[in-house]
């Protein structure tokens, strides 16, 4: 499964919801499918996409927030899983695309493996942190089923999806960082 395939498969759910992604490949890929004013791409500050999602979820309890994270990013802020679990926002779904590498600095799979390549299990870490619902999947069908289940459950879920270490041809897109930020703010405050 590639991340682009997975994003495409659940795009119909993303397009009507508040979405916060981490940096790099996933941001460019989601934009290549179709940018929306309710999508925000945190293009730096690795590890803080989940924290930002928590801030939005607590501020907008009537709206569902989907955080799209990566293994390299969440490994930089594992404490965020404990904070998420502590406040248990039922309106937050945390997707982690785990390609077992720091892809944006790599030229080929395996150049810069993360600790998930050597056995660290993010779904188990999330469960042990206290996240009430966790799942680990590695096929498109299992991903879509787990994603649908997370939305239907109305409870905090961390869904770890193993994906191939492949990304888009370029990471910089035409959408300026601040354009995205103010558009997203306008969207959130209009809700």
């Amino acid at each position: 499964m590639t991340r682009l395939e997975a994003l495409t498969a659940v795009y119909r759910h993303l397009e009507r919801r508040i979405v916060v992604t981490n940096m790099g490949a996933v941001a460019a890929e989601l934009q290549s499918i179709g940018h929306r004013p309710n999508f925000f791409y945190l293009q730096h500050a690795m590890g803080l996409a989940s924290s930002m999602g928590l801030g939005i979820a607590l501020s907008k309890p009537g709206h569902h927030v989907i955080v799209v994270d990566g293994d390299g990013s969440i490994l930089m802020n594992l404490g965020s899983l404990t904070t998420l679990a502590r406040y248990r926002p039922r309106n937050l779904t945390h997707i982690v695309f785990d390609n077992e590498s720091l892809l944006s600095v790599s030229t080929a799979r395996g150049d810069f493996p993360t600790a998930t390549a050597t056995g660290s299990d993010l779904a188990a870490i999330a469960a042990a942190a206290g996240i009430p619902r966790t799942a680990a999947v590695s096929t498109i069908d299992a991903f879509v089923e787990a994603f649908d289940g997370a939305l239907a459950a109305n409870d905090l879920t961390t869904l770890v999806a193993k994906v191939e270490a492949v990304g888009p041809p370029a990471y910089v897109t035409e959408l300026a960082l601040l354009e995205n930020r103010f558009q997203f703010q306008r969207y959130l405050r209009s809700q």
């Binding site: 730096h44 501020s59 404490g79 930020r181």
Partner: protein, 172 residues
């Protein structure tokens, strides 16, 4: 405990007066009363953190969603948050109201607090973060309100340094 309950209340009331609806915090000795006041206030969303940098992301999310927030942390927590401040708050023009307990000033008795105090103001200047000291109760409310005004008008982080003279009631 010689942490001033009276002055903690003055600070908390000033934050409430500024419409703060979300506080992120990692407690340290000087902040215990402030964290307790937030915890007991049903109108306040208190987020207890594992590490202070999380608070930058949480405040960014709250701001974009229209909720005014502040961060409560020690100056060593500020040191631990710097990449988040630069790569999230400054890069994305997020108004961040940071209340930082200024440990390691004159009067510090804990040896482990003494390095951070010496670099706090230089780091704030290097990051071009406007800051002021809170050292007397009579100017607390006005300085917090003015700091928040600048944060919101500039869309940038600002800092208030909570000093020993305000937070600690010396017993000898």
């Amino acid at each position: 405990m010689p942490v001033s309950t009276t002055h903690s209340r003055v600070i908390y009331d000033a934050l409430k007066g500024c419409g703060i609806g979300l506080l992120s915090a990692l407690p340290e000795t000087w902040l215990v009363h402030l964290v307790r006041l937030a915890d007991e206030d049903p109108e306040m969303i208190l987020v207890r953190l594992a590490k202070e940098e999380e608070g930058v992301g949480i405040s960014a999310g709250a701001h974009l969603a229209g909720v005014r927030s502040a961060m409560l942390m020690q100056n060593h927590g500020f040191l631990a948050s710097i990449n988040g401040i630069v790569s999230c708050a400054q890069l994305y023009r997020i108004p961040l109201l940071m209340l930082i307990s200024y440990r390691g000033e004159f009067g510090e008795r804990d040896p482990w607090q003494t390095e951070g105090g010496a670099v706090t103001e230089d780091l704030l200047r290097a990051l071009r973060i406007p800051f002021a000291h809170l050292d007397r109760p009579d100017h607390v409310a006005a300085r917090i309100a003015k700091a928040q005004t600048l944060a919101l008008s500039s869309n940038k982080p600002v800092a208030l340094l909570l000093s020993r003279d305000l937070m600690w009631e010396e017993t000898s």
